[in-house]
């Protein structure tokens, strides 16, 4: 994982996501998930490009089922976008997440 992406657990969700100011992106990932492997380098690269403007988090779904269920996340990878603790924009999920689309959405919420 790059220095620009921080791994959290569901116990950190309140503090790291809901109470956070500015733009936060949360990536639900799983093992045995080729689309997650494909997203990882793109996610790292976008996180690096937005360093200081948006925070990029990832959370391991198998270890954090309760939060995934609460947010209605049933697929990996799923990216959820937040601004000042509120979910904003469309979630992105599956194999078809393009780096350019991710960048554009982060640009829009980072302001």
């Amino acid at each position: 994982m790059s220095d620009h992406v921080q791994e959290i657990g569901q116990q950190d969700y309140e503090r790291e996501v809901l109470a956070a100011k500015g733009a936060v992106i949360l990536d639900f990932y799983s093992t045995e998930c080729p689309p997650c492997e494909a997203l990882a380098p793109k996610y790292d690269a976008v996180a690096e490009a937005f360093a200081g403007r948006a925070r990029f988090l990832k959370i391991f779904r198998q270890g954090n089922r309760e939060l995934a269920t609460r947010l209605g996340v049933t697929g990996s990878p799923t990216l959820v976008f937040y601004r000042n603790g509120e979910e904003v924009g469309e979630r992105m999920t599956g194999e078809e997440i393009k780096k350019s689309a991710l960048k554009a959405q982060v640009e829009a919420i980072a302001g």
Partner: protein, 310 residues
């Protein structure tokens, strides 16, 4: 930065990687680009039982990894998780820009971009994608541990993936539009004998419903036209594939269904532009037939590159 190759292969599924193995082994400078990790559809297939050379089942992920390793052993460069942000495949020098930063050129290009899961096109489908609707059992099956779920489809993938999903789900109900399955008889028999699997034949999905996540699937009984709303924890959709032809728009004519016509040497009407694998017009789409296409495309491209150099 601009890098020259002899052959650029777009798509690292079985067709693309077979092409890369042959091209690289013929000492052509070979680049394979893929927007994901190597393997195409094979990498998310939980097991492969009919690929020659593997007397025991092999996991799709392992088979994909072996294809990629073999291509790299002969010197092919594999560019993973990259996006083609600009392209010109019409002229004698084909040109791609990767991730807006790297320019790559070659006289020959093999497009082996394959196909992606077809969507149903039913109301609520895009809203609940990743919130109860999935197109990949290996990726998302574990989310449905102990749940009651549905599978839509009745072909080989639908039935095979249904069997895989019974590892997790409490019940899997297969919704299929026809009154019998189209899958291979061996898998159908196995599925019908599985106590976790139920079937709802001659039914078609009409809507997905729920609040935050998917909660209900509305289906129509095609015989009586009656509509029913079924509670569900999740729906997996396996209703065929859609070819990925975005790069070829305006360059080559597309047949009905969006597939690409080629010669038996995988040539298109654009000199130096070859097409291989599931994206082609053909009767049967298997790993073995994709690999055959990739082989032929690489041999034809090799000859083209040689003639082009003179």
């Amino acid at each position: 930065m601009k890098t020259s190759y002899d052959v650029i292969v777009i798509g690292a599924g079985p067709a693309g990687l077979a092409a890369a193995i042959y091209a690289a082994r013929a000492r052509l400078r070979t680049l394979v680009v893929d927007e994901s990790v190597p393997g195409g559809q094979v990498k998310t297939t939980h097991k492969v039982s009919n690929y020659p050379g593997f007397p025991e089942d092999v996991s799709g992920k392992d088979l994909a990894g072996a294809f990629a390793a073999q291509a790299q052993r002969f010197g092919a460069r594999l560019a993973k998780a990259v996006e083609i942000t600009s392209h010109d495949l019409a002229g004698p020098e084909k040109r791609l820009v990767l991730d807006e930063e790297e320019e790559v050129v070659a006289p020959a290009v093999v497009v082996a971009t394959g196909a992606k899961p077809r969507e149903l096109g039913v109301p609520g489908e895009s809203r609940f994608r990743g919130r109860g609707i999935s197109y990949c059992a290996t990726c998302d099956g574990a989310y449905f541990d102990g749940k009651d779920i549905h599978v839509v489809g009745g072909g080989n993938s639908a039935v095979e993936e249904t069997l895989f999903l019974t590892q997790f789900a409490r019940t899997v109900t297969v919704v299929h539009q026809f009154d019998e399955f189209q899958a291979e008889p061996a898998s159908v028999q196995e599925a019908l004998a599985n106590p976790k699997i139920r079937t709802l034949l001659s039914h078609e999905p009409r809507a997905f419903q729920g609040e935050l996540a998917l909660e209900r699937l509305e289906v129509e009984d095609l015989k009586t036209k009656e509509r029913k709303v079924l509670p569900t924890d999740g729906v997996f959709v396996f209703v065929g594939m859609k070819p990925r032809t975005e790069l070829l728009e305006g360059l080559v004519p597309l047949a009905p269904g969006g597939y690409v016509e080629t010669s038996d040497a995988m040539e298109t009407r654009v000199p130096g532009l070859f097409v291989a694998g599931d994206i082609r017009v053909k009767r049967f789409r298997q790993i073995t037939t994709a690999v055959a296409d990739g082989t032929i495309a690489a041999l034809a491209a090799q000859r083209y590159v040689k003639e082009h150099r003179r």
